[in-house]
Amino acid sequence: MTGAAPLAEMAGVSVRYRRAGRLSHGLIAIDLQLAANATVAVVGESGCGKSTLGRVLLHLQQPSEGAVRFRGEDLTLLKRAELRRRRRAMQMIFQDPFASLNARMTIGETLAEPLVVHGLARWRDARPRVAAMLERVGLEPGVAARYPHEFSGGQRQRIAIARAVIAEPELVVADEPLSALDMTVQGQIVSLLASLQETLSLTYLFISHDLPLVREFAGRVVVMIAGRIVEDGPPDAVFATPAHPYTKLLVSCVPVPDPAQERARQAAAGNTSTIAAAEAPDHAACPFRSRCPHAMPICATMPPFRHVAPDRQAACWLHESS
């Protein structure tokens, strides 16, 4: 959101899914700009459209409405062959590592393929680069001969990361890339991603449920519920003083590694439920209305997305009066 042109941009993007004759909304009127070399995190409720947002941004999925631009170019207008050439610059680490990996290819082939496809190496001389990449994600080069099912969940996740970055892309959408890793390996991969960002000027869209990790890794966070962005700002400020009641709920649910504190939290929560209601949502209203402790009559209309500080925005009627 600086003066420079964004690396990637979504303008008025909506996605609708039609299932058994019924329409449901994946994304609603999303506007999002990613500055080059930035790390933007996306957090939000399970099923709110984060993965859909990532796929649309990389043009792995067509939006029902709106424009998606990369370096100013509208991807929705590109021909297939041209799009394929752009692919090298845009990589996705899928939420499910199996979706990033071909079950019938060895890990060596899986990592060499992007290099060969984009003319960066031939099959024969890709090997040293593959070995070096494996080592950077904490795996022995010897595993190159093995197949995806022969790895643990966290090892597969690291292979998917290696595949996404080996051809030196410009934009990486990482969908929960570190969720299956223990703390020490996670630390190692976070520094790898940070150092790649520095050497390659990479831009990350980082989808995650791990708020402490988001604060450590991202310079900006976007909060979503029910297909909409409801808050946007620097993670430190957003998590310390959430502007949206949903963000506040999220922050209050983050566990801390202290058994006594956690048991007290369980006990205090009792049987209250914060999960979305069972009925289909009303898209004209604020998506959080049915669960919001501050809901007012006006919340039956969708609040506008407004600045609540120079570098922060939120969509909530609580901020309209001030």
Binding site: R19, A20, R22, V43, E45, S46, G47, K50, S51, Q95, D96, F98, A99, E135, G138, L139, E140, G142, F151, S152, G153, G154, R158, D175, E176, S179, A180, D182, M183, T184, V185, Q186, G187, Q188, H209, L211, P212, R215, F239, L250, C253, V254, P255, V256, P257, P259, A260, E262, R263, R265, Q266, A269, N271, T274, I275, A277, A278, E279, A280, P281
Partner: protein, 317 residues
């Protein structure tokens, strides 16, 4: 016969040359909740699958002194006994929802199947109950969602479908492999409370595999820490967080980023490209990365007992 839901000792799992689980022992009592943590690739999932006899015999070598789950002896169990165990006595939440759900069957069919087999519900009642289970794990519009296929769900919704499937048979033991990694913290806390409530109401035993040490703090009574296929430490939850004894456990806890504290750089371990399980372990498996190693560490340490804690480290000798 033991009264434990899980009673395992001397478990070894080998994938050919990869020796993934070594001399693993574990007991879970009725109504007890045990956490299993450890480095990525340390053998947690391999151990869990062995508890239900899910490793294909032809390619995976499983051996143990004792391997008893919910009263079934897996070393001698017959086919029908194993089928009653899986999904009936013990519910399993797999680490990988996409691999565990059948892409060609609707979600409703998959949950109903468990209800029909293990609770003998007729088709109509099974469908009703399936919808109730989906609603219980927070899937909106559950009735309509029964007719959808796994690919039409988000990652976290698929994970919740799997949780519903595992709970459908009203198991006495729930084995959960990273069950909430795809859930936001608010839905996660609901699911955790649901499972803990079932534990209190039915005396269900729990075994959670997780990397989330913050989440685990509030949900388990006891923790088992693994590294390179072996148990490094086992302790009551308060002791483990209050006074971790094994240097690996200490590193794990020291590298946690916390939202309630100012950010500080993580404690880093010397990076090591590991392929756990190859070759014999003559010394302590953690020694190459241990900040406190000394001469004794060239020999494999046994589990030393100190109060309620057991740790495989020569510092406790």
């Amino acid at each position: 016969m033991s009264t434990h839901l899980v009673d395992v000792s001397g478990l070894d799992v080998r994938f050919g040359a990869t020796h993934a689980v070594r001399d693993f022992s574990l007991a879970v009592a009725q109504g007890e909740s045990v956490g299993l943590v450890g480095e990525s690739g340390s053998g947690k999932s391999a151990a869990l699958l062995a508890l239900l006899g899910l490793h294909p015999e032809a390619r995976v070598q499983v051996s143990a002194r004792t391997l008893r789950v919910g009263g079934t002896d897996l070393l001698s169990a017959t086919g029908p006994q194993l089928r009653d165990l899986r999904g009936g006595v013990a519910g399993l939440i797999f680490q990988d929802p996409l691999a565990a759900l059948n892409p060609l069957l609707t979600v409703g069919a998959q949950v109903s199947e468990v209800l029909r087999r293990h609770r003998r519900l007729p088709a109509r009642a099974a469908r009703q109950e399936a919808a109730a289970l989906l609603a219980l794990v927070g899937i909106t519009d559950a009735q309509a969602r029964l007719g959808h296929y796994p690919h039409e769900f988000s990652g976290g919704m698929r994970q919740r479908v799997m949780i519903a499937t595992a709970l459908a048979g009203q198991p006495r033991l729930l084995l959960a492999d990273e069950p909430t990694t795809a859930l936001d913290v608010s839905v996660q806390s609901e699911i955790v409370r649901l499972i803990l409530r079932l534990r209190a109401e039915r005396g269900m035993g729990l075994l959670w595999v997780t990397h989330d040490l913050a989440l685990m703090a509030g949900i388990v009574d006891r923790v088992v820490v693994m590294y390179a296929g072996r148990v490094m430490e086992t302790a009551p939850v308060d002791a483990l967080y209050g006074r971790p004894r094994h240097p690996y456990t200490q590193t794990l806890l020291a590298s946690l980023p916390r939202l309630d504290r100012p950010h500080r750089p993580r404690a880093a371990l010397p990076a090591e490209a590991t392929a756990p399980g190859h070759g014999a372990q003559t010394g302590c498996p953690f020694a190459p990365r241990c900040p406190r190693r000394f001469s004794a560490c060239d020999t494999l340490p046994p589990l030393f007992t100190d109060g309620a804690t057991q740790a495989a480290c020569w510092l406790l000798a």
